[in-house]
Amino acid sequence: MPDANASRATESSVPLMASVVLVNPVGLHARPSVKLTQCAKGFAARIELALSAEGPWTDAKSPVKVMRVKAPQGATLHFRVTGADGEAALAAVLALVRDGFGES
């Protein structure tokens, strides 16, 4: 049995997971996608997003791929983060989405 710390991924293969609802009116369109990828690129952790907890997962550091997700307002974005600075990375992307990317 993994202990409680196992989900607090440091260099382990167990990713951190969280979901958040897109609140900004345009959803994850061009400008929010750019902001999200810029935020994600500030961390070493592997950061992926999806519209379902089952995936398919998209690299949150790729602006082209993030735009292709075309997530609308009200959609739930799931994040999967792995890496040493994963907790900080997850907190940062969640805060950005909750803030409506500074748009709402």
Binding site: A30, R31, V34, Q38, K41, S62, P63, V64, K65
Partner: protein
């Protein structure tokens, strides 16, 4: 047009139309911010639609970064003139300038986004070219 000095990869926008080039640069500035050296050029030397090598060389100089420069072009002459401009650069700079095979507006925004995160010239080019992938 220019702004911003940084170690990030520079972006040059080359269009036959100065209005398109300037507008694409405006989009980059507004969507990506000021962390990326940026320059644009468009029009022939008489002010008509076209591109010219001197203008492209000047734009490369304006957007120059030690990390290199990625050029986004629209049609035919924009690409060949950009390649000619790269050929005319001093040898030590030539290898650090690439012409991306990407749509000029979307490619410029994506390339700048990639650059703003501190990515290498190769990563910037690759990301812009994902649009056609």
């Amino acid at each position: 047009m220019n702004t911003s000095n940084s170690g990030n990869v520079g972006i040059v926008i080359v269009s036959h139309s100065p209005k398109i080039a300037e507008g694409a640069a405006d989009m980059v500035r507004q969507m990506v911010g000021n962390a990326v050296p940026l320059a644009w050029t468009g029009g022939d030397i008489d002010g008509g639609l076209g591109t010219n090598v001197a203008g492209i060389l000047e734009a490369i100089e304006t957007a120059w970064s030690p990390a290199g420069v990625a050029i986004l072009v629209d049609l035919g002459g924009a690409e060949t003139n950009s390649e000619m401009a790269v050929e005319m650069l001093p040898e030590d700079r030539r290898a650090r300038v690439v012409v991306c095979n990407a749509p000029v507006v979307e490619g410029a925004v994506i390339a700048a986004t990639e650059s703003s995160g501190g990515s290498s010239l190769a990563a910037v080019k690759h990301s812009a070219e994902e649009f056609y992938a």
